[in-house]
C-alpha cells in the first residue's frame, strides 16, 4: 500500500515535470517538422538563470523572470538561427539544433564551471507538507505540482480558448493558408518556439533545485523527453500529457518493486542466483522508458495519440 501511494505521488509530479518539457518540444515539432535536440538545453538554461537570479534577488522573482529570459533566448535562436537554416531543409535544421545543444552546454561550463552549482529550494517552502507512513512529503513538491498544473491549464486555455490559440493551431498545420489570410506566420513560429522554450525553462527553474543543476542535466533529461514525445505521438499535446504521466508512474512504480526475474518467471525454473534471475525490477527502473519506446515503435509506431507515423 505504501509503495503504491508513494509511487503515485512521485510519479504524478515527475510526470507533470516531463510534460512541461515535452509539451514545448511537441509543439515545436508540429511547427518545424523536426525534433529540437536543444530543447533540454533550454531546461538547463532555466535552472542556471534561476540560480543566478535567485542569488541576487529571490526565488520568487527568478520563478517569473528566468522562464521569460529563456523564452527570449529561444525566440532569438528561432529568429536569427533556425529561420535562416530552415531554407536549407530539415536535415540542416536538425543538425543546427544538435550543434546548439553542445554549444549551450559548453557555454554553461565556461560560465558556471563543470560541477554542480548550489541552487537551493526557497526557505519558505522548505518544510514537510504532510507525513504518510512515516515519511514526510516536502511542501516544495506540492508546489511543483501546482506550478505544473497551472501551466497545463494555462497552455490548454491559450491553445483552445483564445483567438491567438486558434491561429497558432491553424499555423502549425496550414501555415500557407494562415499566411494568405494576412497573419504574420514567421512571428507566430517565433512566438511558439519562444513559449516552448519558456516552458522548458520553467521546468528547469522548479526542478533544478530539487534535483541537481549541473552541465549534464540537459544530456540526462534529453533522451527521456524524446521518449515522451515519441510514445505520446509526435505533435500531439494530449499524447505527450498521457505519455509523461505514464513514464513518471512506470519509473516510480518500478523502483518500488523488489521482485526479481526469478520470482516473476518462477515457472520457467529460473534460478535466483543466476545472472538473469537476480535482476530485480527496481534495478531496471531507469531502462523502463526506453523499453516502452522500443515496444511502442514496434507495435504502435504513431504513438498513443499521434496522427502520423514516424
Amino acid at each position: 500500500m505504501e509503495t503504491i501511494v508513494f509511487a503515485l505521488l512521485n510519479g504524478v509530479i515527475y510526470g507533470l515535470l516531463l510534460f512541461m518539457l515535452s509539451s514545448g518540444l511537441t509543439l515545436i515539432f508540429s511547427m518545424m517538422g523536426v525534433l529540437n535536440f536543444a530543447h533540454a538545453s533550454f531546461y538547463m538554461l532555466g535552472a542556471y538563470f534561476a540560480f543566478t537570479i535567485s542569488g541576487s534577488t529571490t526565488f520568487w522573482i527568478a520563478l517569473f523572470v528566468a522562464p521569460v529570459l529563456v523564452g527570449l533566448v529561444g525566440a532569438v535562436v528561432e529568429r536569427y538561427g533556425l529561420r535562416k537554416v530552415h531554407a536549407n531543409g530539415h536535415v540542416a535544421e536538425l543538425l543546427f539544433t544538435f550543434g546548439l545543444a553542445y554549444l549551450i552546454e559548453e557555454i554553461v561550463k565556461i560560465v558556471y564551471g563543470k560541477t554542480a552549482v548550489d541552487y537551493r529550494i526557497p526557505d519558505l517552502l522548505n518544510f514537510p507538507a504532510f507525513t504518510i507512513y512515516g515519511a514526510s512529503f516536502p511542501a516544495y513538491r506540492i508546489f511543483m505540482l501546482f506550478i505544473a498544473i497551472g501551466m497545463l491549464i494555462g497552455l490548454w486555455y491559450l491553445l483552445k480558448k483564445t483567438r491567438a490559440g486558434l491561429i497558432i493551431q491553424a499555423a502549425l498545420t496550414h501555415p500557407h493558408m494562415v499566411g494568405h489570410l494576412g497573419h504574420n506566420v514567421p512571428l507566430i513560429f517565433m512566438t511558439v518556439f519562444g513559449i516552448g522554450c519558456a516552458m522548458a525553462g520553467l521546468a528547469g527553474v522548479i526542478a533544478g533545485n530539487i534535483f541537481v543543476t549541473d552541465p549534464a542535466m540537459a544530456v540526462q533529461m534529453g533522451p527521456i523527453v524524446f521518449v515522451v514525445v515519441v510514445v505520446g505521438g509526435i505533435g500531439s499535446l494530449e499524447g505527450a500529457f498521457l505519455a509523461s504521466l505514464l513514464i513518471g508512474l512506470i519509473q516510480n512504480f518500478a523502483v518500488g518493486i523488489n521482485a526479481s526475474f526469478a520470482e516473476i518467471f518462477w515457472f520457467t525454473g529460473l534460478s535466483p542466483t543466476s545472472e538473469i534471475g537476480d535482476i530485480t525490477i527496481s534495478s531496471l527502473a531507469p531502462v523502463m522508458p526506453f523499453l516502452l519506446l522500443v515496444l511502442m515503435l514496434i507495435f504502435r509506431p504513431r504513438g498513443l495519440m499521434g496522427e502520423q507515423e514516424l
Binding site: 548550489d118 507512513y133 514526510s136 534535483f211 534495478s283
Partner: protein, 411 residues
Amino acid sequence: MSIKTAALAAAVSAVAVTAAQAEIKMAFIDPLSGPFGPSGEAAYTSYLLEAERINEAGGVNGEMIELTGYDNKVNPKESLVQLQKAIDSGARYIFQGNGSSVAAAIIDAVNKHNKRNPGDEVLFFNYAAVTPAFTNESCSFWHFRFDAHADMKMAAITDYIRSQDDIKKVYLIGQDYIFGQAVAAAAESQLTEKRPDIEIVGNELHPLGKVKDFTPYIQKIISSGADAVITGNWGADMQLLMKAAAESGSDIPYMTFYGGSLGAVSALGEGAMDLLYQVSEGITNLEASDEQYELIETYKERFPEYDYYYHRAHVAMRMFKEAAEKAGSVDPIAVAYALEGMVHQDAYGPVTMRAEDHQAQQNLYISTVSDDVKYGVDNIELGWKVVEGGEIDASVAEQPTTCEMERPEKP
C-alpha cells in the same frame, strides 16, 4: 617518415628526456567534471597542495614534482585514453581513486604496459578505489592502495553495529557496479557472522551517478522499517541520498564509507547529528599536531569551496617522497620496493604499507556529525567528531589477504 620529421621527433624526445630529468611527472586521472567532479577536484587540490609543499622544501632527491590532472569522467574507457596520454607525456606515477571500475581498468593497463615496456615502468597509487580484490586475488606489484578497502571499512561498521543492540533491521543501498556489489556482499557476510539476529530488510543497487531524486528509494527504506542503513555511496550519489533523506524527515542512522562527500552534511543540516556516520582514516577534528592544523587551515584558505577531507592523498605523496629518498632514486621499481613494508609516521597514527599485498594499514575512525567541533564542513558550523569507541587501531582494522604477488627483479 621523412628525414626532417625524424629529426624533429628526435629533437622533441631529447627535450622530453631532459625535462624528465629535472622533474618527476605525475598524473592525476579522475573525474574533474560532471556529477563526480567535486570528488575528483577535492582530491586533486589535496595532491597539488602536498606536491607544492614538497617542492618548496627542496623536492624529492632534489627533483621537483610536476602533477597534471586528467579528466576521466569516471569512465573506464576514457581513463585508458587519459592514462596513455599521461604515460606519453612522461608520467611514471599515476594517482586515481574515484571508481573501482576505473581502477580495475588502470591496474590491467599498467600491468600490460610494464610488461611490454621494461625500463619504462609506471606505478599506480590508488587512494580511494576500495574493492577488496585489488589487494587480494587480483593484486599487482604496480598497484599501491592508500585507503582502507571495503572489507576493512565494513568490519569497522559491523563491529560498531554489534555494540548497538537496538539495531535489529538493516537496509543496504549502494551503487550498481563492482564497488557497490562488494560493499553489499561484505555487509551481508559480516552481519550474519557478527549479529545473526539482524535481519537485512533491503539490498538495493541503483545506477551509478544517474539517480537525480532518491525520494522513492528513501520512502522504500522508511517503509521497510529499517533501524540503520549501510551505504558505500560517494560523491553526488551520497549527497543526493542525504538530500532526499532530509526531505523525507527520516531519522534512520546512515552508516557510510563516504559521508564526508561534499555536501552530504549540509544537505542534512542539524538532522545529521548522530544520524550520519562515516568510517575514515582521519578527520580534521582529531587531536593533532600544530603542523597538521596548519595544513588543514591552509587547505581551506586556498580552496574554500572544499574541505580538508583527502588526508590519504597527503599520506600517499609523503610516502612516495620517503620511499624515493630511501631508494635514492625515483625509478618506479626502486620506489615500489622501498614502499614495501615502509612505516610512515603520520598525523593520525602510523601508516604501514603491507609488503604482501600493497594495502596500507592505518588507524580507522568512526565519526558522526556534531556541532561541538573545531572545524566545520561544507562551510557550516557542523563537523565530524569521533564516536565513543570509534577509534580502531590499525592492528584491529587489518584483514588477511590472499594475494600472491609476482615481483620484478630487484634493481
